[in-house]
Amino acid sequence: MSPVLEVRNLGKSFGGVRAVDDVSFSVEAGKLLALIGPNGAGKTTCFNMLNGQLPSDRGEVIFDGRKITGLKPREVWRLGVGRTFQITATFASMSVRENVQMALISHAGETWTLFGRAKDRHVAEADALLKQVGMLDQAERACGVLAYGDLKRVELAVAIANKPKLLLMDEPTAGMAPRERIALMALTAEIARERGIAVLFTEHDMDVVFAHSDAILVLDRGKLIAKGRAEEVRNDPAVRAVYLGSGATSGGH
């Protein structure tokens, strides 16, 4: 089976510093790939190049058999790439349901419609998505007043509204309580397997990484220093030195 996302020799420099240096990897449908590494290793830069927020200097990104390097974020989205952000980005003045409806409206190409209530469009579909992430009972509430963990779920529903083939999640569980973290990633894994979505995520919580990834990439100073299954990465001395440490403060990982 050909991978959904293939990254070849990706590179980016800021003022002479190689933030991302010759990085290559691929993700397959229904699999969760974790990208870990110290702060400043280039994870977010790498992410921003994948969905077009940053132009790359070198290399290419192939999505679904098509080169997407150089496209804008919204064009990448149209091709089927969903994204969640480290700091949740939702529409605070809209209700939970309206947030999802907005994504559905955009997906259906109805953005430019000047009349007819937006509220009445794609209600059933929006509710189905909200039900899947367990937010249906809060559909009428404003996103601006939601608890952080709930906001993350809404973002997930929005990100999968256009039936993406690839989901990019930047620190999806940052700022959540331990059990919520596991629950959110379990939900993500379930949705990914059910819908055959490939998921690439960055994360600092090793409980989450080791429990919910099919494979792990380790980035340090822009370079890929390890790649493999949880056990291999965990026992890699280079990874322990630059990233994992002794495990004393991360629950023994």
Binding site: G40, Q86, V145, G175, A177, P178, E180, T249, S250
Partner: protein
């Protein structure tokens, strides 16, 4: 040295703290724990005067500090390290430190840039680098160093381990223990029980703006029911 009683605070129109109360002693590391949105950050901001408390008493070494301006509270000897780090991104490391510089204080360790660079050797190697050009871990160290320049007696650390790589978190734990060794009191807000366990003497748990548990770290580790109910561990 810090006593809080019946603290009520609002963020905008939302009532966040409903009568928070706890106290901490000199040289103690206290972990303020709880879920996201429970009120940890707001408690710290209320102590610091950044979110004006609507009701309640906060005393620091006998001074009532409710109603004072943040800069007055800082001058009494309370240092605040915000969760989002908030280094001055266009100022160099040295300039970041100089902003917070205060005169020597009786009963608190006296910090100079040179002394801080012994504690944070990384910073010493990038004195002229702008804060914005540093990695997340380095910025976290810089905010702590910056706060110490005010020679505080009590440091409030808001989620110091959040978003940091495990190796950096370990370094952070060592730093906090070093500060404790200097005789400083430290209040940290945390969700990470492993981390809190490695640095704190006592823990107090906040949930929906109320204190639900206070005890030693060992008591918390032994009390599975409390952890499950309030920390979702």
């Amino acid at each position: 040295m810090l006593e809080i009683e019946g603290l009520n605070a609002y963020y905008g129109r939302a009532h966040i703290l409903h009568g928070v109360g706890f106290s901490m002693g000199r040289g103690e590391v206290l972990a303020l724990m709880g879920r996201n949105g429970a009120g940890k950050s707001t408690t710290m901001k209320a102590v610091m005067g950044l979110v004006p408390p609507q009701a309640g008493r906060v005393t620091f070494e006998g001074h009532t500090i409710v109603g004072r301006e943040p800069f007055e509270i800082a001058r009494l000897g309370i240092g605040y390290v915000p969760e989002e780090r908030r280094v001055f991104s266009e100022l160099s490391v040295m300039e970041n430190l100089s902003v917070a510089q205060r005169p020597k204080r009786e009963g608190a360790p006296h910090w100079t840039p040179e002394r801080l660079f012994q504690l944070f050797p990384n910073l010493g190697r990038m004195r002229d680098r702008p804060g914005g050009a540093m990695s997340g871990g380095e910025q976290q160290m810089l905010t702590i160093a910056r706060t110490l320049m005010g020679n505080p007696k009590l440091v409030l650390l808001d989620e110091p381990s959040e978003g940091l790589a495990p190796v950096i978190v370990e370094e952070m734990a060592k730093t906090i223990l070093a500060l404790k060794g200097e005789g400083l009191s430290v209040l940290i807000s945390e969700q990470n029980l492993h981390f809190a366990g490695s640095v704190a003497d006592r823990a107090t748990i906040i949930e929906k703006g109320l204190i639900r548990f206070t005890g030693t770290m060992d008591e918390l580790k032994a009390d599975e029911a409390v952890r499950a109910q309030y920390l979702s561990v």
